[in-house]
């Protein structure tokens, strides 16, 4: 079992999606304890990927491959987890998108992928998302957090409008807001009353965990 856990972590660390899928299937075939394999195997691997990224040891393709391997393993384990009545601790539901007027997509998609690989539920609204839709979806799906990307100084004010709309609907206490994108920084997040700013996908995982965790 210990060897199996090590292999699961290693598959994610190496971004080996085929091996991760194979090990996920083996977990089911051998009836290994699901929560333990996820937590001490795959999750351990993706956390190490995040740590090595922050350290500057990994470069972007390796980060992406690690996240993809994690997602593929979880796609196999998740249905078994649910049908078996297991309760995996969800990190929280995040509604994510690029604000209206802005069609930059790839950075936001990377953040969504890393959040998903780290156990967050994700509702990715895509790019050019109107303020009302962010709030409607977050309210309707009872999301814990809204993550808003803006790549232009001209579209950044939309992030503030989302917070204002949450305020208007008295949802601000319940739904956290995190922001990102090239022109954003900590000061901007503070100025508009967001709960935080993340400079990259790994930082976004840590930030989302912090703000949702309270």
């Amino acid at each position: 079992m210990i060897e199996h856990l090590k292999k699961c972590a290693q598959a994610v660390l190496e971004g080996d999606d085929r091996q991760a899928e194979k090990l996920a299937r083996l977990t089911l075939d051998k009836d290994y304890p699901l929560l333990e394999v996820i937590d001490k195997g795959f999750v351990k691997g993706i956390r190490e990927v995040g740590r090595l990224w922050e350290e500057g040891t990994l470069f972007l393709p390796e980060l992406v491959m690690g996240a993809e391997a994690m997602k593929k393993a979880m796609a196999i384990l998740q249905p078994a987890l649910e049908s078996g009545g297991h309760e995996q601790t969800k990190a929280g539901l995040v509604v994510i998108g690029t604000i209206e007027g802005d069609i930059h997509d790839i950075g936001k998609t990377l953040v969504a992928t890393m959040l998903s690989a780290n156990g967050f539920g994700i509702l990715d609204l895509g790019a050019d998302v109107p303020v009302q839709r962010f709030v409607d979806e977050a309210e309707g799906k009872k999301a814990d957090c809204i993550a808003i990307s803006a790549l232009l100084t001209t579209t950044m004010p939309g992030q503030k409008k989302v917070i204002e709309e949450l305020d208007r609907r008295s949802l601000r206490d319940r739904i956290k807001v995190i922001v990102g994108g090239a022109p954003c920084d900590e000061k901007w997040a503070l100025d508009i009353g967001a709960d935080g700013y993340a400079g990259d996908a790994v930082a976004a995982v840590a930030l989302a965990g912090r703000v949702i965790g309270g």
């Binding site: 990224w53 500057g56 040891t57 990994l58 470069f59 972007l60 393709p61 390796e62 980060l63 992406v64 491959m65 996240a67 993809e68 007027g101 802005d102 069609i103 930059h104 997509d105 790839i106 998609t109 990377l110 992928t113 232009l152 100084t153 001209t154 579209t155």
Partner: protein
Amino acid sequence: MEPVILDKFSVKIAANEVIRYLENGKRASSGQIKRFQGVLDLSLDRAGVLVRPRGIYVIAPGKSLPGSSLFRELERMAFCVCTIGPALEKEVKRLMDRDQLLEAVILDAAGSVAAEAVASHIDGIFKEQAAAEGLKTSCRASPGYGDWDVGEQKSLFALLPAGRIGVELSPSCMMIPRKSISFAVHIDRNPVRLRSENSCENCDLDICPFRITDR
């Protein structure tokens, strides 16, 4: 003042530049690069097919930029909008939709390098033309950098009919296709240093991971 359209040229997408876009503060080792060599090569091949370089420019006095006073004192400027076209970003979107994020990320980086190469190619033409007259050019300045407000994209697009090369401006001043670059250079015996210059050689941030250097 008649705009000139350039559409019969090609650009080289340098693999080392694509890698630079994917790095994370440190240089990727040869072992790391080797792991992705196959996807990188495929992306460069794909980009070679998908990139369609085009540019439109006008040589005009600085004061001819409508509604802008930024360059009004400068006698001779080149104003340009250029693009790699929409095909590459459509392919990136298709790859993302199919959950092929690795391929999407690398192709997107190749597109960024290609757009920069298109702008450099046209900038090179301005340099050659200036040199033929014993003049020089400043480094490129772009709306959204330094003191040139991104809102002045509207001025640039009022001066240049960029729709003729397939580039439109959104209400939020974003160029569509996204892999497009707008810029201006000053042409003079002693060109000024534009505060909105976006060139690495004029930037003091030596440790910037995006700095263009010889590898």
